[in-house]
Amino acid sequence: MTDDVYIIGATMHKFGRFPDKDSMDMASEVSINALADAGVTMADIGVLGCGSLLEPGSGQRLLHEIGATGIPVYNVVNACATGATAIRAAYLTLKAGEADVGMAVGFEKMGKAGLLGLRPGTDSNVFTPSGRSGNVVPSEGVLGTGLMPGVFAEVGMDYARQNDGVGFEQFAKVAEKSHAHSTLNPLSQYRKAFTLEEIMNAEVIAWPNTLPMCGPTGDGAACVILVTGERLKSMPAETRKRAVKISASVMTSDPFVDTDMAAPDVNTLTRDAAKKAYEISGVDPQDLDLVELHDCFATAELVHYDNLGLCAPGEAGKFIDERGPWRDGKIPVNVSGGLVSKGHPLGCTGVANLVEVATHLRGEAGDRQIDGAKVGLTHVIGLGSACAIHVLEKVG
């Protein structure tokens, strides 16, 4: 039986647009703050997991800003699960006994990036098949949409087809909830509440997703410091008291399903990861005090209520209708404001959600604190597809 792993440092930079800072400024700031939070220095850190989609391979550059000690660096890219993958790189190194303190950083400088998911096409004046399907023109808008708002709209509509009581209104209610939550979070990119009517009457991006149902692009950085249980024992009482246990760290990719030929699957791998995470941690979904899940679009959040077992099978519509995921509901979901309001700087997201849950478990979440939070779950999904789930528990 290998040693448990704990989070002893957890910080994030407010999400938003910060033209006066570059990625290294933001990543350095959260790393230096996380080291201080953990009460360690770069001399203690034995491994760095570093995640960024737009600036892959930046971990060494970061170390040359904050402390270049010669430790191994794992630069990772794994779609929207990049941040969580960086955490896994540090986590697995600790589990393997190669280091006893590790750092994981996720960051992204996106600015105002517009619609995501566009692939470069051919601009030749002679039709020339390219790629594995021999496309002669860019497929976007010709063979359906591959842009994220539409892809995740179809994910939601597939769930709506299979389950009663799910439609535009239920998806919009998800965004109403998340925007309301974000008003309490000073680190959120947006902090404006919208009425359900405002959300339903807003500009349609890809129906049923209207503008406030889509996660914004922006800048962000987050960092966690991990430690083995053995090393934690020799740390100060205050560090031990604020330590958060990683009770499960699970990663999956999308197994074959018949519909792969038409669309990426975000459900099966989430269900697989959740099942494994609950088994490893011994935590039942109904025990969860809060969940930060991957709501890149409101339509995505709703299907994950079901995938993560937060509601009875097929009852995600009922769950939101009954205000189950509101902060005063049965299982608070995305009390940070979620990706839809807090923001979604791609490579940062999978670290920031662990920071959020850890902050609640430490009782340090300020106005948005979920009182008495003892167990939380984080979930990210990257299209194409990668899923990571962490179950975190208060120990002190």
């Binding site: 039709f127 497929s139 010709v142 708002p149 890809a206 792969d260």
Partner: protein, 145 residues
């Protein structure tokens, strides 16, 4: 202008190329064609190396897919990529018998009142444009059946 003496007077049909290699224009009726795993029957579009479902590396078989199906999921794209005309309907279509495909749904009003999941649709093809060599690209979409 009169054709020069001796020029062949045969009319040459315009060359056509399908928008993707899984649209087969060789027969009388355009068809979608999948690659079928010879061991487990799993279906794929495009070039393959092996079967993701059963790991078979045996050669894939040609599987013609039905021209009819139903809308599994859809979205109405209002804010489209640069150069793409909006609104339009994108859908995942469950084909009758076997197979699934992503495509636009056309000849329907792009509104949630007019398009529903489960709606029966059929394959249709159209010209996407002609290149500098006179080759016509043929696209496909679905329309209400």
């Amino acid at each position: 202008m009169a054709a020069p003496i001796g020029a062949a007077l045969v009319s040459r049909p315009m060359a056509q190329i399908p928008v993707v290699n899984y649209l087969d224009l060789s027969g009388d009726t355009p068809l979608l064609v999948a690659q079928k795993c010879s061991d487990c029957g799993a279906l794929y579009f495009g070039r393959r190396n092996a079967c993701a479902k059963c790991f078979s590396t045996r050669p894939f078989e040609r599987q013609e897919l039905a021209r009819t199906g139903s809308v599994r999921a859809f979205t109405i794209v209002q804010r489209a990529a640069p150069g793409v005309k909006a609104p339009y309907v994108s859908a995942i279509v469950d084909l009758d018998g076997a197979g699934h495909v992503k495509a636009n749904v056309i000849n329907v009003e792009p509104s949630p009142e007019a398009i529903k999941t489960g709606m029966p649709v059929r394959l249709t093809t159209f010209t996407l444009g002609t290149d500098d060599e006179g080759t016509e690209a043929i696209g496909f979409a679905f329309e209400p059946a």
